[in-house]
Symmetry: none
Subunit: 190 residues, 4 copies
Amino acid sequence: MVRRTDTRQRMLDTAADLFQTQGYHATGLTQLTTAGGAPKGSLYFHFPGGKEQLAAEAIRQSGERLAELLGAIVANAPDAATGIENAIEALAVSLRESDFRRGCPLATVALDAAAESDMIREACADGYRSWHTLIEAYLTRCGATQPAALATVVLASIEGGLLLARTMRDTAPLRAVATHLRAALEKEIP
Amino acid sequence: MVRRTDTRQRMLDTAADLFQTQGYHATGLTQLTTAGGAPKGSLYFHFPGGKEQLAAEAIRQSGERLAELLGAIVANAPDAATGIENAIEALAVSLRESDFRRGCPLATVALDAAAESDMIREACADGYRSWHTLIEAYLTRCGATQPAALATVVLASIEGGLLLARTMRDTAPLRAVATHLRAALEKEIP
Amino acid sequence: MVRRTDTRQRMLDTAADLFQTQGYHATGLTQLTTAGGAPKGSLYFHFPGGKEQLAAEAIRQSGERLAELLGAIVANAPDAATGIENAIEALAVSLRESDFRRGCPLATVALDAAAESDMIREACADGYRSWHTLIEAYLTRCGATQPAALATVVLASIEGGLLLARTMRDTAPLRAVATHLRAALEKEIP
Amino acid sequence: MVRRTDTRQRMLDTAADLFQTQGYHATGLTQLTTAGGAPKGSLYFHFPGGKEQLAAEAIRQSGERLAELLGAIVANAPDAATGIENAIEALAVSLRESDFRRGCPLATVALDAAAESDMIREACADGYRSWHTLIEAYLTRCGATQPAALATVVLASIEGGLLLARTMRDTAPLRAVATHLRAALEKEIP
DNA sequence: ACCTGCGGGACTACCCGTTGCT
DNA sequence: AGCAACGGGTAGTCCCGCAGGT
C-alpha cells in the first residue's frame, strides 16, 4: 500500500527534524504527531516500540541522509582539503540559516538519550561510524597515509565545532576548524 | 544560617552531576531533590527561578570546576603538547570510569536546553569561553603563533572526541584526537 | 465457509477464558485477538457489536458449557447430596489447578461489566437462571419439598464459596459449603 | 496538619464508592479524582503507590466500615437467626436503594484485580477474614456448636446471594438465603 | 524569617476500542 | 476479510506555588 509508506515516512521526517533541534526528552509525542499531521494512535501501529523505536529509526535515517549529502559534496571537490572545507561550509550554512538550531542531527539525541536507551545510542554510533567510513574512504582515495586516524580527527573536530558554534551562536569555531583541517590535510596528503 | 548554604550547595552538586549524565529534560525535579536528600518544596526557596535557574547555576559551577582541574593539569606539564595530552587523558579516564556516562559536563545541557532557554545556553557558552580563554593563555605562554584559533581547534576536537567516545563507548576517538593535537602543537610551537 | 466458524469459535473460546480470569475491563482487545491468533480487524466482522457482543456471547457459551458439565456430574450421583458435593469438588479442583484463577466463569464479568452493559448483565443473569433451573429440576427429581428456594441457596452458597476460595487462595470455604449443603439436603430430602 | 487527613480521607471515600460499584479496572484515575474534587497530582502525594495502593487502602476501609455496621446490627438482635436476618435485610435495602449497584464492597475488586495485584487481593482477603471472625464470634456467643464452619457458610451464602441479586436485579436470592440461614441457625443453636 | 508539606493541574508516553478504505 | 488510521482514553509524572508550622 502506498499510504503506509507515506505516513510512516512523514512521521520519520518530522521526528528527525524535532529530535535534531530539541533532543529526545524535550520532544513530546503530541508534538511529534501534531507537527506531522498524523493522529496519535497511528504512531504505535507503525512503531510498536513507541518513542524509542521512532527515535532510533529517525536517527538512522538522519545518518544516512547526511552521509549522502556529504558524499555528494566531497565527490565534487578537486582535492581532500577542499572537499572537507566545502562540507563544513554546508553545515555552517545550515546552522546559520536555521538560527543556530540545526547542528549535528545526531549529537543532541546521542547525548540525552544514550543514558537510558542502548538502542538509540547504537543508532547514533552507527551513524557516526558510517560517516567515519565515508571520510576514511575519501581520504584513502586522496592518498592519505593514516586515513582512519585522520578521519576520526576530522569527524571529531567538526562535531566539536558544530557544538561550539551552536552554543555560542557564531560559526567562527567551524571556520577555525575548517582552516586547521585544510592545513593538516595538505600536510598529510602531498 | 549555615545549613542554607549547605542545602543550596548540595542541590547544585546533585544537579551538576545529573545534568551532566542525563541532560536537562531527562532530569526531573523529583530526582534532583530526592537524590540530594532535600525536600521538594525547598528548591523554589533557594532557586526562585525554578529548574532553569538551578540548571544555569549548576552549569556555571561545572564550568568553573573543570577549568580549575584543567588549569592544574596543564600547569604541571613540561610543554604544551604534553599538557593538552594529559588533560585529554584525564577526561578519558573520567569517561571510562563512569561507564561512559560522564562526558563533557556542559555539552548535553548545551544541546538539549539551548533551544528553549537563553539563560542556560549563555551559561554553557560562558563555560566554553572560559575554557577557550584558559587554553589560549596557555598556548600563548608556550609560544604559539596563532593561539586563539589553535585554542578553538583544541577545544572543538576535544569536545567532538568526548562526544564520539561516549556514544561509541570507546576512548579511541579521544586518543586519536590527542595524537593529532600533539603533532599539530609541536609543529605550531617550536 | 468452514474457517469462519473456526475463527469465530476460537475467538469465543479465548474470550471466555480471559474474561473468566481477568474480567471484562481488564481484558483488552489486543490480548483477545493476539491470544487467539486472529487479526484485530477480523473481530468486527464476526462480532459487529464489538467487545460487548463478544463478551455477551462468550458468557452465554460459558454458561452452557458449565451447565452441561454440572448436568453430567449430578446425573451420575446416587443422591442429591452426593451430586451437589461432586459438583463442588469439580469446581474446587478447577480452581486449585488453575492456581486460583478460574473461579465462576460468569461472576467477574457479572460484577465488573453489569454497571455499564445490560446486554452482558442479562447474559450473566441467563446463565445463572439456567443453572438454577438445572439444580431445581435435579432437586425436584430427588424429591425436595421446596426445590426452587433450595436451588437458590445451593447456587448462592456455591458462588460465594468460589469467591471466598479464589480470594483467599484456599479451597476451605468451598469444602465448608459442601459439608453444609450435604446436611441441609439430607434433611430436606428424606 | 488537618487538611492532609481531609483530602486523603475524601479520596479514600470516593475510591471505596467507585470501586464498589464499578470495579478496579472500570474506574479511571480521572474519575476518581474529579469525583472527589481533587487534582490528579495530589493523589500521588498521598498514595505514592498509585491506583493500586489507593485501591488496597480503600478496600481495607470498606471492610472495616461494613464490619462496624454489621456488628451494630447483630448486637441489637435478640438471637442469632434474627441478627443474621437483619444484616441480610440491611444489605438488600442498600442494594435495592442504589438501583442494584452497591453489592458487596469487596467482591468486584476481589475478582477483577486479584489476578494482577496480590496487594489488593490480600486486602480483600483480610476484609473477608475480619467479617468471618466477627460472625464466628457472634455465633459462639449465641452458643453454636461449630461456629467457624457455620460462619463460613453464612458469609459464603450472603456473598453469593448478593452476587445473584445484583446480577438479576432482584433481591429474591437474598431473601431465600435469609430464610434458609434462619432455619439452619435455629437447628444449630437450640 | 526560613523553610517545607501539601496541593494543583497540565502534560507524558502509551494503548484503548473502533472504523474505513483496500 | 484485513491493514492502516483514528482520537480519546489510560496510569503516571511533570514543574510549580502557597499556606502555615518551626
